[in-house]
């Protein structure tokens, strides 16, 4: 565990990618194979099966530290990370251990076969033996969520350095639903036939936001445009007579979208599509709102009723694999032609549709089209360079998203709560209200959009202007007005205000605006009428 803890510290203490990549590459060159494999797994969001509940962990930590449970919980609320709170609150370790990372993982896995008492004995023993970062890492192995500043891209680069394999190939190998319990370092990273897994998706290519309009992109004829749909990005894989659906977050969602199974009847094996999953009612001329889709995403299995109420289709906009061949390096127009050919004969009720392209010869024309996006339940436009290959990750230059300007409303901050992680000890999560007569009605929370400096200023203000505390939440004197930006608005019976916002965030701190001039519930309802 020491070697991994050292790696973790080096990465955690640095903001420089070169330092992180060097540390990782060094680790991959030296660590034992099982540790390497687990390190790749942990840094790509995989983790051992949870052996102990967090409730038990909290109880045991409080017991060993001789603090009451409420005090442990209050400390956790301030530190913001359970694994770290436990590591800090426990007495210093009295012994040390030379066991490896994979040893501890295996030991944790074996806990599933023993009773609670034995589990407790093991965990307490580990806490006694591991100190500092090692103890923190051990706790993280149980609680999950290694949020350390290592992107998949960065880890892939380090792997490329230490193995001599190309980054793109490694990125592809690391995709999909592999787990260190089922693969070896050799089969995952080194073996010749890496495409053996039929479910393995391609890394998604992500667009950059276009902030100042498309004119700087040059000649409009070099570009293609389509709606930026307000659904979820998905990759549909048809191989060996099976289908697989992957989310952009690399989550396998096949079981959630059983209607896509019929794609196998219409498209040949050896096809991989990139597109948007949308709820689209039969005969409708536009997709249903994102809210309808949300009901589907939340369900691991779908009841029949929901399946007929909220049918999902994939609007395909790119073709990554055709007739079993990876065609990502072909120019976009060529891939698009193949995609159009593939989709040409799809019946109207097929679960896959071709996402249409917009015709335009001038940017002004495209701006007019963008202005109608909200009517189509789209978020704006995607603009893609005609000759662009399908890259992986967020690479600037070829793919742009040109979103609609958000809706905005001026609201009053009424509650504040401390953030966690990097924002521990700062008040960064706020609840906002609008006027209803002389009352302030809460309608949304937001926690992003301000600078660190602004958060620090508001934090100091919150401390001096707290009226009441409800656990970690502080009710503050209504005083500050913020412009809240959001992407959509829906009626909601779960919220006191009767509305739910999509992607709310703070656009500006309106220090110029008096409290009384914040918007009203009537204003919000008017927006609901127009855009809901």
């Amino acid at each position: 565990m020491k070697r991994f803890a050292t790696l973790f510290n080096t990465i955690d203490q640095s903001t420089k990618t070169s330092v992180k990549v060097t540390a990782l590459a060094g680790y991959f060159a030296e660590a034992e194979e099982a540790d390497r494999l687990w390190t790749v797994a942990l840094f790509s969001g995989r983790r051992p099966k949870r052996a102990v509940t967090t409730t038990r962990l909290r109880e045991w930590a409080a017991e060993v530290s001789e603090v009451p449970l409420w005090l442990f919980e209050d400390s956790y609320a301030i530190v913001g990370d359970l694994a770290e709170t436990i590591a800090l609150v426990l007495p210093p370790n009295s012994e040390t251990s030379n066991q490896s990372l994979s040893h501890w993982i295996k030991a944790l896995r074996d806990l599933s076969n023993v009773d609670d008492l034995e589990r407790k004995r093991f965990v307490l023993r580990a806490w006694k033996t591991l100190g500092g970062t090692e103890r923190f890492v051990f706790n993280k192995l149980i609680t999950g969520g290694f949020r350390v500043g290592v992107s998949q891209k960065l880890m892939t680069r380090a792997l490329a350095q230490s193995t001599g394999k190309p980054e793109a190939e490694l990125a592809h190998r690391l995709m999909g639903n592999w787990h260190p319990d089922d693969v070896t370092w050799h089969s995952l990273i080194e073996a010749e036939d890496a495409s053996a897994d039929a479910s393995r998706p391609y890394p998604f290519y992500l667009a950059h936001a276009l902030e100042d309009g498309p004119e700087p992109l040059g000649d409009p004829l070099d570009w293609r445009a389509e709606w930026k749909w307000d659904g979820i990005r998905g990759q549909l894989i048809l191989r060996d007579g099976s289908y697989f659906v992957w989310s952009r977050g690399e989550e396998l969602m096949t079981d959630r979208f059983p209607e896509l199974a019929r794609a196998i009847d219409h498209l040949p094996s050896g096809t991989v599509l990139d597109g948007e999953l949308l709820v689209w009612q039969a005969g409708a001329d536009k997709p249903s709102s994102f809210n309808t889709l949300q009901a589907r995403i939340g369900r691991k299995t779908v009841p029949k009723k929901l399946l007929s109420e909220a049918p999902v289709v994939l609007h395909a906009y790119d073709l990554l694999e055709w007739q079993g061949a990876d065609i990502r390096t072909l120019p976009f127009t060529k891939r698009r032609n193949l995609l159009e050919t593939a989709c040409a004969d799809l019946p109207a009720d097929a679960p896959v549709r071709l996402s249409p392209q917009h015709r335009f010869a001038e940017w002004d024309r495209l701006a007019d089209i963008r202005a109608t996006a909200r009517e189509e339940n789209a978020e704006g436009l995607m603009i893609k360079r005609a000759d662009s290959p399908y890259l992986s990750g967020r690479k600037k230059g070829d793919w742009w998203k040109w979103k609609l300007d958000p809706l905005t409303i001026d609201a009053v901050m009424i509650y504040a709560q401390a953030g966690s992680g990097r924002r521990a000890n700062m008040f960064t999560d706020y609840t906002f209200a609008v006027w209803h007569g002389n009352d302030l009605v809460p309608f949304t929370k937001a926690y992003s959009g301000l600078t660190d400096k602004e958060f620090i200023e508001i934090t100091a203000w919150v401390r001096k202007n707290t009226q009441q505390r409800f656990g970690p939440v502080r009710q503050v004197t209504p005083h500050h007005v913020f412009e809240i930006a959001f992407e959509g608005i829906q009626a909601s019976s779960r919220h006191k205000s009767g509305v739910a916002l999509r992607f709310p965030r703070m656009k500006r701190w309106r220090q110029d605006k008096p409290l009384q001039e914040a918007n009203t519930l009537d204003d919000l309802n008017e927006m609901l009428r127009i855009y809901g």
């Binding site: 203490q13 009451p68 005090l71 770290e84 800090l88 992680g421 990097r422 521990a424 000890n425 401390r463």
Partner: protein, 337 residues
Amino acid sequence: MTRNPVLTFTDKGIYCPAGDFYIDPWRPVERALITHGHADHARWGMGTYLATHAALPVMRHRLGDISAEGIAFGEVRQIGDARVSFHPAGHVPGSAQIRVEVAGEVFVASGDYKIVDDGLSEPFEPIKCHHFITESTFGLPVFRWAEQRDVAAEINAWWAACAAAGKTAFLGAYALGKAQRLMTMLDADIGPLLTHTAVENTNTILRNQGVALPDTVLANGELNPKDHPRAIVIAPPSALGSAWARKFGPQETGFASGWMAVRGIRRRRAGDRGFVISDHADWAGLVSAIRDTEAENIYVTHGYTDIFTRYLNENGWNAKVVPTQFEGETLDQGEEA
């Protein structure tokens, strides 16, 4: 019949009616007793100041032409009907707890304190009392300080690695107290010790009053960084990354504070490295200091007041939160941590 309490908490600060004086007031008053020279305790505009002989020179430097009087540790002074004495708080050189006795009832206002001996400040002395006013800056059980020599080893290892890589090590620390404490922890064999003007001004004052500090080189505008390879520079946090600091070329920055114990804060605040070292008591330190006073009544100020007070009440003390304008809870604005 209720008599006047020995100390009361007012909107100007802690007040003693029997002696008509305030302790660490935050608004101008006629007579102020000051625990130590940090800016949130020793404020400008008081009619007269009383502080320890060791605290006064820095206060005079910071506050300018003030009417001030010094007192020795342990010296008893009668002010009106109050018997007053100052006792070491271990926070920074010259820092004191103030003991106030009226008609046999004893209050101790401890200001900021730590109970470990940092080798520089007069070590903390527990004072028996009926009423103890305590800070709670780090009043959570997650705060547990490592031995000073272990932190010293960590800092020296970092400095040596910087020196070996041809980088200047910048260590951010508050000018009074923390900066000098760090200086005494550094291993002079690694390289030269440079100081920012604000730190060196305080060094000069402390040296003049007989505090032993290692040799330093003032890193002002005339200094050529190339003449001082392998250097560590001690500077106030605000100077890290400034135009002045950038003149030193390749560098790493570290920040030394108790807040660095929390990873989230460390990542937000620390530059390259965060070192966990504080001039405040950690959780165990607070609890043991309170126990040693044998006081029944505890008044909890700046810090995690609600939480710490609840803990004390559950464990047999009669504890209360007292309002303060000290921003002890903050990390980003406080003078010292």
